[in-house]
């Protein structure tokens, strides 16, 4: 069975201009969805970290589960060539420690990089401040990175996936993660109930 038609970019001739139009459209839908979720408002997103409204977790996890299952099944039916998909490289300690630092920043901002754009473009001045801070942060990183080179590339494992490292069947892992997500969604609902009761 030789089907494989995607990623379209690598298997058909697509002009760069068309790709950019597509990027714009994808972004418009993404921004629209984020705003509809309430994520243009830091006051809504931050409730995740006070356990009163776990929307952020629900959206993030259901999106990942959908993306994960879709990618798996499309590759299973040989429509999508998974080897041509970009897999984010793993840098063990930079990503764990950097992730914690990112979490600190997230709680200070109440927004993440993508949602700060939605906030700013719906008139929220704090969103604009986050965007400004991010530009400063990138400049600071650019100026300091050469001296931290050793640490930034420490514990690099390459483009490794969870099923490769666990030596596990890809399909089975997606099934187990989906199951785990369903349990999480149930727990998260209970947590919200409890913390909202506490407040009222």
């Amino acid at each position: 069975m030789e089907l494989i038609i995607a990623p379209i970019r690598f298997n058909y001739e697509v002009s760069n201009g068309l790709l950019l139009v597509f990027a714009l459209l994808t972004g418009i839908f993404f921004g629209f969805f984020l705003e509809k979720a309430g994520f243009g408002n830091a006051g809504v997103l931050i409730k995740q970290f006070y356990l009163t409204d776990m929307r952020m977790f629900k959206v993030l996890f259901s999106a990942i589960i959908t993306g994960m299952l879709g990618t798996f099944w499309l590759s299973y039916f040989k429509i999508l060539d998974i080897t041509q998909i970009y897999i984010n490289g793993t840098y063990l300690w930079p990503q764990i420690l950097g992730g914690i630092l990112f979490g600190f920043g997230f709680v200070l901002c109440g927004l993440c990089p993508g949602t700060s754009c939605v906030a700013a473009f719906t008139g929220k001045l704090d969103g604009l401040a986050v965007m400004g801070g991010m530009i400063a942060g990138i400049i600071i990183f650019g100026e300091t990175a050469p001296s931290m080179d050793k640490y930034l590339n420490f514990s690099s494992l390459g483009d490794v996936s969870i099923y490769e490292i666990l030596n596990m069947n890809y399909g089975l892992l997606t099934f187990l993660i989906a199951l785990f997500a369903l349990v999480c969604f149930w727990i998260v609902g209970k947590v919200e109930e409890r913390f909202n009761k506490k407040l009222s």
Partner: protein, 173 residues
């Protein structure tokens, strides 16, 4: 904020599924997922290039974004983020949520909130450069293809967030 709105927020699971479908479409068309921080990097790199071209080309972080044949802003993530701004604006206008304001907790002044937001932005962008991606590019897209680093990043963000949220309760409550 919790009062009834005329245009309520959508069910988070519906939005999540929608974003998941966008990720799939993005993989199917371009082989890459969504992103955000990369657009900021391209933006900063292209500005630095016009200010100090030689110095920027020497810098290993920025040269990555400007060494190509194409203009650094003619990039997938840059156009995607411009789209995010437009999409957010459209939804904000349609839902009557577009309003010039500072979103903050009741115990903090607007100026302090903006300072904290700026500081948080610095921290977040710096961290996202260290981790090679943010919530969109690493957690969402990398999480979907089961990248080990993406999942570690995601759990670390929650650990980091929860470890300070209750210490700085006054900022938000």
């Amino acid at each position: 904020m919790s009062t009834k709105q005329k245009y309520p927020y959508w069910n988070p699971y519906i939005v999540g599924t929608g974003i998941g479908i966008l990720i799939i479409i993005s993989f199917v068309t371009t082989g890459r997922g969504l992103g955000a921080i990369g657009a900021f990097s391209s933006f900063v790199a292209s500005i630095m290039k016009t200010i100090a071209p030689e110095r920027t080309l020497m810098n290993p972080v920025f040269s990555e974004y400007i060494s190509g044949i194409e203009h650094p802003l003619k990039d997938w993530v840059v156009f995607e983020i411009i789209g995010v701004c437009i999409g957010g604006l459209i939804s904000g206008l349609l839902s009557k949520r577009f309003k010039f304001e500072v979103i903050k907790g009741p115990q903090i002044s607007s100026v302090n909130r903006l300072i904290l937001a700026f500081a948080g932005g610095i921290l977040m962008a710096f961290a996202a450069k260290v981790t090679r991606g943010c919530t969109s590019g690493l957690a969402l897209s990398g999480g979907s293809v089961l990248s080990l680093g993406a999942w570690l990043f995601m759990f670390s963000v929650f650990i980091g967030g929860y470890s300070i949220s209750f210490l700085i309760k006054k900022v938000w409550n």
